[in-house]
């Protein structure tokens, strides 16, 4: 599925933000235009896509966010909006007026929530999120980015119950931006993350919530009994790092936020999403030819060989390059040099 970035601005400043550099280097005025949106919609539809995700920055601060959602729905796409839920009163009114009549099969939200104790927000921000969830809860799955090992999920179960949210929790590791000092969870700590997650098993079962793992988790970090528990929810965990394909407002495309410096292209250079996927598959191959995965043991690992595991997140893999000798393919070296500079 492709991600359409409506804006590079965000109204929140999460400590772990892996889109931070991309947003900082984009002009503040960069927002998706109608012309570009229609181009993207044509591009995706002609590639056979039936679903799109809207991201930012914070996509809901785009002045025409509601119009864009309605347009994409009219074009036949199922739309998922990734939001922090901090909507202004005016925007929330627009949502109430125009989006609450749309079926949850066609429109959904992933609302990224931070633990109010571990990542406190101002009372106004918290109230805004609360108002958003009160209105759009049934359309929302909660999302949670893990950036510390003592993370807690209790507040998410409460939020799911209180607001009637979808009973699926999307869990991601706060990805590092190669070269930036933001590696909150080191590869060796991913095992601890899984252990911690598994410790919430009773709550997941009690509240009938299914956990879903985003990209970046290596298979070997998960014990068999944990894997069995995850599998029982009928949630497919891929343990692969595939391209999300982010399409920026200026129609530049990149693999994902952490790797936005790497082989960034323009959408105009491609005829279809399949071509674009191939381009980024090539990038992955180039990187994986250098280092098999996030651990030295990934090289020769049977799970890698059988494609059951991708060796962790590509951004973590690239982070291993930093500080090493200049021996890699020029494009990656150039991007690494930029990372070092930044």
């Amino acid at each position: 599925m492709a991600n359409i970035l409506l804006t590079t601005r965000c109204n929140r400043s999460c400590p772990y933000c892996f889109a931070e550099r991309e947003m900082a280097t984009s002009p503040p005025s960069t927002t998706m235009s109608w012309e570009n949106l229609i181009y993207v919609a044509d591009f995706l539809q002609s590639s056979g896509q039936k679903a799109v995700s809207l991201l930012g920055g914070e996509p809901t601060i785009h002045p025409e966010c509601v119009d864009f959602i309605l347009y994409l729905l009219d074009r036949g796409f199922a739309v998922t909006v990734f939001t922090n839920g901090m909507l202004s009163d005016a925007r929330l009114d627009e949502f109430r007026q125009h989006l609450t009549g749309i079926s949850q099969q066609h429109l959904s939200f992933v609302c990224n929530l931070n633990n109010p104790e571990q990542t406190p927000a101002s009372p106004q921000e918290a109230a805004r999120v609360n108002r958003f969830l009160s209105l759009m809860g049934p359309w929302c799955s909660p999302g949670f980015n893990i950036y510390r090992l003592d993370f807690s999920l209790d507040f998410l179960f409460q939020a799911i119950n209180r607001h009637g949210m979808k009973r699926h929790l999307r869990l991601g590791i706060a990805h590092p931006i190669p070269g930036a000092q933001n590696q909150f969870i080191s590869p060796r700590d991913i095992r601890k993350v899984i252990e911690r997650l598994y410790s919430f098993r009773d709550q997941f079962d009690t509240f009938r919530v299914s956990p879903g793992l985003d990209c970046g988790f290596p298979l070997c970090a998960i014990e068999d009994h944990e894997l069995g528990w995850l599998t029982r929810f009928n949630v497919q965990s891929h343990f692969q790092c595939g391209a999300a394909v982010d399409i920026a407002p200026d129609l530049s495309v990149y693999h994902c936020f952490p790797l936005s410096n790497y082989q960034r292209k323009s959408l105009f250079e491609f005829d279809s999403l399949q071509q674009l996927d191939q381009h980024f598959a090539h990038l992955r191959e180039q990187i994986k030819a250098e280092v098999a995965g996030i651990f030295p043991e990934c090289d020769g690992c049977r799970y890698q060989d059988s494609s059951a595991c991708g060796g962790g997140g590509l951004c973590q893999v690239v982070s291993r390059f930093i500080g090493e000798a200049r021996i890699r393919i020029p494009e990656i070296e150039d991007a690494l040099a930029k990372d070092r500079m930044s």
Partner: protein, 288 residues
């Protein structure tokens, strides 16, 4: 020259003054389209279309479902906000209509593209003050973006489908602004050669009956000769690459270079459009 079609208001008394004509009847309220058509028929004329000159944005208009088969030229100042329009898109698709939008703002230029991409036929109306670069993008989208089907956008579609590099092409009739195709009649029956001239009360006859052969009207003859002035004066239009498409139409209102580039580009795109249309369909994989 055959008798031009008549553009006149929905006025029963006026319509009864002539019969056997082809009439494009104008109304200000979309809900009157059905009544206007009936009035034309009852007066013994045939209805070409109903021209709805609405003062409200498209998203505010109410069309009657029973008028779905009437050819409607819906002239609106703007499309309004998409959030309001979204509810009406399915309904609009059922109508036999073409939405006319002036290209006087970036919003309207975007709206033309939005409507076309959603399967609603449109017509761009532009004058000298238009953003020619934005119009070029719009025209390119209308004619060359084949990845997904979209509704025709006039006048580009007409220009591209009838373009001949060796001859002149007149397309003003799409805007009801060509006296060889349309003459305009006001409530009192007075005749003008264009809507603008009608509004300026610049009439060529006090009554349709006063015109036996429209091609002999001095004003029409003068208008048809108007193009020669560009060559007599040897102005920039006389040597312009886009001449065969615009005939100096924007000479007074546009900086020459801008409209010239646009029409030159239209010709390039129209040629590509023809080539693409001639391309044989590609074989499916199973035929290889």
């Amino acid at each position: 020259m055959p008798w031009p079609k008549i553009v006149c208001p929905n006025n029963e008394a006026l319509l009864r003054k002539f019969s056997g004509r082809s009439v494009a009847v104008t109304v200000n309220n979309a809900a009157e389209a059905g009544v206007a058509t009936e009035n034309v028929r009852h007066s013994g004329n045939s209805c070409v279309c109903v021209i709805v000159r609405a003062h409200q944005p498209l998203d505010q208009l109410q069309l009657r479902p029973e008028d779905a088969r009437i050819p409607i030229a819906l002239v609106v100042p703007t499309a309004g906000r998409f959030r309001n329009l979204a509810r009406k898109i399915d309904e609009l698709r059922k109508f036999n209509l073409r939405v006319y939008l002036p290209c006087d703002s970036p919003e309207n230029i975007a709206s033309l593209r939005i409507l076309s991409s959603l399967g609603i036929e449109t017509c761009a109306m532009f004058g000298g003050g238009v953003d020619w670069n934005a119009l070029t993008d719009l025209m390119t989208y209308a004619l060359l973006d084949y990845r997904m089907p979209h509704a025709p956008m006039q006048p580009f579609e007409f220009i591209a489908s009838t373009f001949d590099p060796c001859s002149s092409l007149h397309w003003d009739f799409l805007w009801f602004d060509d006296p060889t195709h349309f003459v305009h009649v006001d409530d009192q029956g007075r005749v003008a050669l264009s809507d603008a001239e009608l509004r300026e009360q610049c009439f060529v006859a006090q009554d349709l009956t006063a015109i036996s052969d429209p091609s002999e009207l001095p004003a029409l003859k003068a208008r048809r000769r108007l193009w020669t002035t560009h060559f007599v004066q040897a102005d920039a239009c006389s040597s312009c690459e886009g001449w065969s498409l615009c005939h100096g139409k924007f000479a007074e209102t546009a900086a020459h270079a801008t409209c010239s580039e646009f029409f030159a580009e239209v010709k390039v795109v129209a040629r590509q459009h023809k080539l693409l249309a001639k391309r044989p369909p590609q074989d499916g994989v199973w035929q290889l």
